[in-house]
Point group: C2
Chain length 226, copies 2
């Protein structure tokens, strides 16, 4: 996988996966963090052609695929704070949400294995490299994963526009799983049904919903530090 | 200005500015909300060429420029909840933040008049049309605006990574102004200095900052309903 952009490449070098080599412009190659791997000089145009994006900031790198953890691994270490994303479609949204999740201190993120965005280079870029420090699992069945997490003692809160209680009225301390649905569609019924409770973010304006990334940030940061 | 996308065009029709006419594909033209203006059938390619974006969802419309309110107007109506954006650069971020601000129920948004993103069609799209229902002013001097708002009785909280107190430790009720800085740069010193207090969003991960849109959503929704 060809990662691109300063933060994504830097965090990959600080993270878990193998980074084989990088291509950098004269200017980007002088940055002090770009060490430990072979770096080849390249023009901005060559880098854009290699990574397929103009947003490379003068650097791209060849790395192994994203190091997902297993579904079981996510639950094995007694997590206290997990995020589940139900069929999110947009890699940019996925990346932005992962950035907020990492900053909020989640123990891991579960995403759907099928019909959902994956951790692509665009998602890595949107996360500012935060995905490199996150445990992310692709799960076969999102509803089953929610139920399995509940068996481990986590309380599962799903975001829903029409839920009777607001997130600020529930107790988010002591082990929670936040479940956020796809852009514009929300949670699938079986996933909503697998949660302990649905909560809404109170809307005080005329436009009826937040984007998935804003909703996730609000809920994740409402969870108190352990 | 050529607006594009279903939500932006629909909300513009529900909002304050004049919309002169629309172009829509056969399919989009059948949507019930697209009424009250002349609608011309067009192919997806023609619409893309007219609005300059592939993200038009089958509809674009010619509307007058965004109806900013005056700087004084924003303060004249005894606002209790304002958002100030200090030289935000990216129209997508500006739009996403405006969507969260509208949903959070702000009385208005102030953006810098120069060296800052404006309410472009891309910003309207990223806001899902929420800008049509927001009072937005372009202010000449952001720091002066913050001071003027404080004279009106608002308490100004600026977001800063290294602030001693967390936003959750301060009283956000009873009339506040939230001030958020540019992507990756934060508040300019004079703007930070104009605030009553700087607050941070506690970071619990390894990556050091949130994106401006997530930070704004978290702070805006931490403000209690009046």
């Amino acid at each position: 996988m060809i990662l691109y952009g300063r933060n994504p490449v830097r965090e990959a070098l600080r993270g878990r996966r193998r980074v084989h080599r990088a291509w950098a412009t004269e200017r980007a190659a002088r940055e002090l963090w770009l060490t430990g791997i072979p770096v080849q000089r390249a023009s901005a145009e060559e880098i854009a052609a290699r990574c397929g994006s103009p947003a490379h900031q003068g650097v791209c790198a060849e790395a192994e695929g994203f190091p997902y953890v297993g579904e079981g691994d996510l639950l094995a270490r007694e997590p206290r704070f997990l995020l589940v994303l139900d069929e999110l479609q947009d890699p940019q949204n996925l990346g932005a949400i992962c950035r907020s999740a990492e900053a909020a201190g989640v123990d891991g993120v579960a995403i759907a294995e099928r019909r959902a965005a994956e951790i692509t280079p665009a998602a890595c870029k949107a996360s500012a490299g935060a995905v490199e420090h996150l445990r992310i699992a692709r799960v076969r069945n999102v509803a089953d994963f929610v139920l399995a997490a509940r068996e481990r003692g986590l309380w599962a809160y799903g975001a829903a526009l029409d839920a009777p209680r607001a997130y600020s009225e529930v107790d988010l301390s002591g082990g929670v799983l936040i479940v956020v649905g796809a852009e514009g569609r929300g949670l699938r019924p079986r996933v909503a049904g697998a949660c302990d409770e649905l909560v809404r973010i109170p809307m005080r304006g005329r436009v009826e919903s937040l984007n998935a990334s804003a909703a996730a940030a609000i809920l994740l940061f409402a969870v108190p530090a352990p």
